[in-house]
């Protein structure tokens, strides 16, 4: 069974204090690993897709990386507006499966 574990559950940073969020996964044949950002009371917003180990994607202060067992979301010099819950999800190659398996998320708070 495909599984995703995110750590830490919650993270508090000071503005400008860089850090990383972790997403550990087990999946039968990775077809994609996805990162989403979710603001309170809203639907998740797509950030990145990673397909193979060694791949990296960047967007503003965020950088996502992928190994065969985990993905990291690196946040460089965060600002208060980066405060949100970050969700990780995987899609495997089980026959007929178009579903994503989600982790429970990391709630990030960036204090000014």
């Amino acid at each position: 069974e495909d599984q995703v574990t995110q750590s830490p559950e919650a993270l508090r940073l000071q503005e400008g204090e860089s850090s990383s969020l972790n997403c550990s996964y087990t999946v039968s044949g990775l077809r994609g690993l996805f990162w989403y950002r979710q603001d309170p009371g809203k639907g998740p917003e797509f950030l990145f897709t990673l397909y193979s180990a060694g791949e990296e994607k960047e967007k503003e202060r965020l950088k996502a990386t992928l190994t065969k067992k985990e993905s990291f979301l690196h946040i460089t010099a965060p600002k208060p507006e980066d405060s949100a819950t970050y969700l990780c999800a995987v899609q495997g190659d089980k026959s007929g499966s178009e579903k994503l398996v989600f982790g429970k998320g990391t709630k990030l708070t960036v204090n000014p």
């Binding site: 994609g32 996805f34 989403y36 009371g41 639907g43 797509f46 579903k99 989600f102 982790g103 429970k104």
Partner: protein, 115 residues
């Protein structure tokens, strides 16, 4: 701008009422999904559909049903609302992608309160 639209942001319903949550996508996506999201439990899949008039149960289908009469519309039905169905409901859609995975596009969510 492509999007997934959920008909209501907030709903308050009484116990025992039949509740309809509507979701429409304009991206010609084959796949559509309904999740509920609760604190500490994360996203849980209720039902999904890979094609018109097709549906499959997710992890927590009890107390729910769905309808997909047209490709762009996927409705979630609470047959007899109960207080334990108070939650945030999220609709999502994705392309059928046999090779590389395709991520979801989510709607903005419906916060349902059953009193």
């Amino acid at each position: 701008d492509v999007k997934v639209t959920q008909s209501s942001r907030y709903l308050v319903k009484r116990t025992g009422e039949k509740v309809f949550l509507e979701c429409v996508q304009d991206m010609d996506h084959e796949n559509m999904f309904w999740y509920r999201q609760d604190p500490g439990l994360g996203l849980r899949l209720i039902y999904f559909s890979y094609d018109v008039k097709m549906k499959e149960k997710g992890d927590i289908p009890e107390g729910y049903s769905v309808s997909r009469e047209k490709k762009e519309r996927f409705s979630l039905i609470l047959e007899s609302a109960s207080t334990n169905q108070t939650s945030m409901y999220l609709c999502a859609s994705s392309l059928l992608s046999p090779g590389q995975g395709a991520g979801y596009t989510f709607g903005s969510g419906t916060r349902l309160t059953v009193v």
